[in-house]
Structures are given as C-alpha cells and as structure tokens.
C-alpha cells in the first residue's frame, strides 16, 4: 500500500514497512493453509474408504447435498423457520431483559424485587427446563421461541444491570449540577453509558440463542435446521447432518458480525474501539 514513489529518504523508511506487509500476507495465507489441508485430507480419506461415509460424508458429498437441499427448497424452508424462532426469541429476550434491567437498575425498589430472584434463576441451566416447557407449551412454536427467549434474557439483563450500576457517579453529579431532569439523565447519561455493556450482553445472548435453538429443534420439532438434522439421522444421511452443522456455524458467525457491526457504529465515541474489537 505504501509502494508509491516517494523521496529517497522516505523510501528507505518505507522498506521495512513493505517487508512487514509481505509477511502479513504470508501469515494470512498460512491461516487458510491448515483448514484447506484438513479438507483435502478428509476428502482423500473418504474417497479411499478409510473413513466410512456412514460415519462422515465426504466434503464433495456435503457440497452436492447442500446444493440439492438448496434447490428443492428443504434448506430455505427449514432455515427460515429456524431464523424466525431465533429472531423472535431474541426479540422477546431484548424487551424483557432490557425492561427488567431498567427497572432494577434505576430504582432501589426495583432492584430488591427483581435482582435477587433473577440472580437465583440464572444459576439454573436453562436447558434443564426443556421437558417442563414441552409439558407446559406442547410441541408448537411457543416452547422453542420461549426457550430461546429464556436463555437470552439473562445475559442481556445481567450485563445491562451491571452497566447501569457502574455509571461513573461523577457524571451523575455533573448531570445534577447542570439541572438535568431525571428522565433526561436516564436518556443522556445512564442509557448511553450502559450501552457498551448491553452490547456485550447481546453478544452472549446471540450465542446462547443458537444453542437453545439447536436443542429445542432436536428434541421435538417438525421443521427447522435441527429437525432436518434429526430426520437425516434416521436415514443415516451424515451429509445432511453436516450441512446442518455448517449452516449453524454460518449463522453463529453472521450474527456475531452483526453485533460487531452494531458495536463499531454505536460505540464510535470510543477512540480505541476498533483496535480493541480486532484483538478480541
């Protein structure tokens, strides 16, 4: 990038930089090297019969299956069902988690009423509630969406609550000396100050949402990526199962990118944000 013609003295200085960027390219290639080698080895193992396709489908097989699932509509249908479940569960979690955190973060009474029970509840593994949810809500969409919502509510609540409580008291004092009303203090000082924590919570919540969804769809469902995979199990279709896994991976990756995008845009005021975001 710095290979334009510059003055003699300057050029001498850019040389080490060039070498560094060359090394950076090599590092990037090296990162791709091992996954590519792995896939190649996997394909060879399958083709030569070392690995039984009853246990693991070959990469080529996965690609063809993925392609045909895409074309006959199986994948788009199930994917959209799963997406709707995840997004609605997450939306419920956002509304509930944010409301609870606001109530307990902004008032002492709210804290006494809300925080203690939630701190106890959060120690329960949410997945242990699957049988109860099926008993309560049957096997329709409700238990799946609610399971996602339940799992995702806690990280949102906990992080936002912590963020509200951790607002610098000096800033709150400043707001008082400026004569800001309570409502305005909440809007201009407390909420923006707690936003970084809310986004951390959201990132955890997204991860948990997928986890809850995988379990909910595999335990009982007649549609969704999880169901598609469970169905494939009956017919020993490891290729379909692996396509499902791959889709889950992509979904996790994509949602993480969305949260990252939100962070870089909403937290633009943090000068070091980009650098911090990269290293994490």
């Amino acid at each position: 990038m710095s290979d334009t013609l510059i003055g003699f003295g300057a050029r001498q200085r850019t040389r080490p930089a060039l070498r560094v960027s060359g090394r950076a390219v090599a590092v990037r290639l090296r990162r791709f090297l091992s996954p590519v080698l792995l896939v190649v080895a996997w394909q060879i193992a399958c083709s030569s019969g070392v690995l039984s396709t009853r246990l693991v489908a070959s990469p080529a097989q996965i690609v063809t299956t993925g392609w045909s699932l895409l074309h006959d509509g199986t994948l788009p249908t199930n994917l959209s069902v799963s997406l709707i479940r995840a997004v609605s569960g997450l939306a419920i979690a956002l509304v509930v988690g944010v409301s609870l955190a606001l109530m307990s973060g902004l008032s002492r009474v709210g804290e006494d009423l809300i925080d203690a029970p939630l701190q106890i509840l959060r120690t329960l593994p949410a997945l242990a509630l699957v049988p109860l949810f099926i008993l309560w809500f049957g096997i329709g969409e409700t238990p799946k969406v609610l399971l996602v919502a339940l799992g995702a509510t806690f990280p949102i609540y906990l992080n936002l609550h912590k963020g509200i409580r951790a607002i610098d008291p000096k800033l709150l004092e400043m707001a008082r000396t400026l004569g800001l009303s309570r409502g305005r203090t909440i809007r201009e000082v407390i909420l923006p100050g707690a936003l970084p924590d809310l986004l951390v919570g959201l990132r955890f919540a997204v991860g948990i949402s997928w986890l809850m969804l995988v379990v909910a769809e595999q335990v009982n469902a007649d549609s969704g990526i999880g169901h598609m995979m469970m169905d494939a199990e009956d017919f020993l279709r490891t290729d379909i199962i692996l396509v499902g896994l791959f889709i889950y991976g992509l979904l996790g990756l994509a949602s993480d990118q969305i949260v990252r995008f939100l962070e870089t845009n909403l937290l633009a005021w943090r000068p070091s944000y980009r650098a911090v975001g990269r290293t994490s």
Binding site: L171, G179, E188, G193, R270
Partner: protein, 245 residues
C-alpha cells in the same frame, strides 16, 4: 435545596453569595465545616485555599447544591455553574453536545460554537471528548459552565491535573473570561501563586472556618516580581502554615 434561603435584606443585601453559620459533618465525625461564614459580592473573584481535607470541596458541593444544607443558611444565585478537576464530559456526546447538554432551543449548536470559540476550542466542536487533551477537555468543561451564563462560577481545582505550561494558559483564559462575563467566582486551589494572579480576595479554610481573609489589591495584569505580590505570597503561605526559611 429547600434549605437554600433568599438573601436577607439589610446589611447583607448586595452580595451574590452569603453563607452563614454553615456546619457540616459526615456521620458522627467532627464537623468538617464549623459555623462557617462567607460572603461574595457580585462579580468578585475569590480564591479558596486550605490544607488537603480542610473541607474546600465540601463547601463547594454545598454551594452548588450537590449537598444539602443541614445547619446554617446559604443564599446564592439560581444560575450556578461548576467546573471540577476532571472535565466530566460525557464520552458519548460530541464536544458541542456536551457544552449545551440540557439546554433547549434551535440555536443550541450556534451557542455551543460561540462559547467554544471563546475558550479557544473552535476547531474541536465535533470531536469526541475522549480524543481531547487534558487542557482541551478542561476548556470544554469551562465552555459548558459559561454557556449557562452563570451569576456564580465554582471552580474546584480545575487546573490541578494540567502541566505547568497549560495551567498558565488556562489561568490567563479564566482571567479573560471573568473580565468579560463578570460573574462571581469561587476558585478552589492549592496554588498560592494562582490565587494571587487571579483573585480579588484569598480566603483560607482552617478547622472548619475561614481563618484568613486577604484582599489582593494588586493591579492587573499581575507579575510575580512585584514586591507587593511577594509580601502577599509570604502572608498566605504563613497562614497555610508554610514558613519561608
């Protein structure tokens, strides 16, 4: 703030700030402020000195309404602004939004721009606060205080965290701004020279009361080399318990 009473008429009328018999203690500890009296005239610049822990910030917090008056009376103008040692800017609002925080009106940005120019920060109007240098942040805090056109400006060691050179510039700036705005000022400082450069009067807080009240009658601009400056300096240092050898 219901404890803050209107100024009584008569002898004390014509003062911007009147503190009478103000007593303040934390818990069951000794009184930090002990029946303190203080009056500041409109447009008067008062420097408040005293040892660390003598109660300067406590007095200032009561004067700006952050702490309630429990014993004694305080009367002060309703338009009061404060600048603390830290700028206390909201990191998520741009500099100009910080300056007019809580202000209404369509001309908010224009007003912020004008006052930021005045403090020499016209080029950082749209900057994020975390990208400002220490001196710039204090200028922004000063702009935020001034945009409200206070009748009484409280400064709690506003330059203490700045380097010597920046501090000199900021002192000059405060002096210029005070000449232009003519509000009553109470400046808390540890720096005797700063008090002598800026203030009309230096008061020393000791054991909960104003024990020294020293008018500074030097002409402005003031110079350290002035023999009167030297004399006042020795007096102030003495009242702070620091003796020149």
């Amino acid at each position: 703030m219901s404890d803050v009473r209107r100024a009584p008429s008569g002898a004390t009328a014509g003062q911007a700030v009147i503190v009478e018999g103000l007593t303040k203690r934390f818990g069951n500890g000794p009184a930090v402020l002990d029946r303190l009296d203080l009056a500041i005239a409109p447009g008067e610049f008062v420097a408040l000195l005293g040892h660390s822990g003598s109660g300067k910030s406590t007095l200032l917090r009561t004067l700006c309404g952050l702490d309630d008056v429990t014993e004694g009376t305080v009367s002060r103008p309703s338009e009061v602004s404060v600048v603390f040692q830290e700028s206390r800017l909201l990191p998520w609002k741009r500099v100009w939004q910080n300056v007019v925080l809580g202000q209404d009106g369509a001309d908010r940005r224009a007003r912020a721009e004008a006052v930021l120019r005045e403090v020499g920060l016209g080029h950082r109007i749209d900057a994020w606060p975390l990208t400002l240098s220490g001196g710039e942040a204090q200028r922004a805090a000063l702009a935020r205080a001034l945009v409200r056109e206070p009748a009484f400006l409280l400064l709690d060691e506003p330059f203490a965290a700045l380097d010597a050179l920046t501090r000199l510039k900021m002192q000059q700036l405060v002096s210029d701004l005070w000449v232009r705005h003519r509000c009553a000022v109470l400046l808390v400082t540890h720096d005797v020279d700063e008090a002598l450069l800026l203030a009309d009067r230096a008061v020393v807080l000791e054991r909960g009361r104003i024990r020294t009240d020293l008018p500074i009658t030097l002409d402005r601009p003031r110079r350290h080399a002035d023999p009167t400056f030297e004399r006042l300096r020795a007096t102030l240092l003495e009242s702070l318990g620091v003796h020149d050898a």
